[in-house]
């Protein structure tokens, strides 16, 4: 059988979709609450800095964002095809590069905290 990197691409897409399905709505509620007068303890500068600056908290944030970005990038590639864009090679490079850039930025900002 021909070697293919499809299982890895799809596996990361599925992992990202699952992580996103479980966590994204709750994360949005968390950041929406301050607008309605409820300030989550974690969102104060000192607490969030302590959480994201800790190696474990940072690793969790990094892992979640990497998977989210990969999921969105891969699905966008397929969706653009569905919308009639046929330049898959170019689209693939663009979306995966965007995901990689986002992941690198995440790592950079986490290390800067």
């Amino acid at each position: 059988m021909a070697k293919s990197n499809k299982p890895i691409v799809w596996g990361l897409f599925a992992a990202g979709g699952t992580v996103t399905a479980f966590l994204t709505p709750a994360l949005l509620l968390l950041t929406l609450l301050p607008a309605f007068g409820v300030m989550p303890v974690l969102l104060s500068y000192d607490n969030l800095r302590a959480f994201a600056g800790h190696w474990f908290g940072g690793l969790v944030v990094f892992g979640i964002l990497f998977l989210m970005l990969w999921h969105a990038a891969h699905r966008l590639r397929v969706t653009l095809h569905d919308f009639g864009v046929r330049a898959d090679g170019l689209v693939a490079v663009a979306v995966y590069l965007a995901a990689a850039t986002g992941t690198a930025a995440t790592g950079y900002f986490l290390l800067r905290i």
Binding site: T20, A21, L28, L32, P34, A35, A72, F83, A105, L110
Partner: protein, 132 residues
Amino acid sequence: MSAHGKPYVREVSRYGWFFRSPRYLRYMAREVTCVFIGLHALLLIVALMRLSDGREAWEGFLVNLTSPAGVVLQLLILAFAVYHSTSWFNVTPKAMPVLIGENFLPGAVIIGAHYAGWVVASVAVLFLAGVF
């Protein structure tokens, strides 16, 4: 060429095909959630950037987050994120069927377990973040 003449090829529009059936439209809505998941990732990265810029920057970010535009943006992302979650969990029996002995676990059980897990995970996130 076949001996039976020209094969019939149904014409499918390359661009507007998904308006042909509500089923296709639901599929496209599901796929388009990725744009909003990407937007949310971007929002989180900006949050990390502002956090790493220091206290004033973070507090400025919180002000933006609670502005009308910030709330509308987050509610929009939330709507698509919830659609992503439900559409994702609803296909889990097809994506990973569970075989017990000679029978497949009923799809409703697998979907139900995911919804229960979703509730637990959401409550856990809000609890760990000190909302209650």
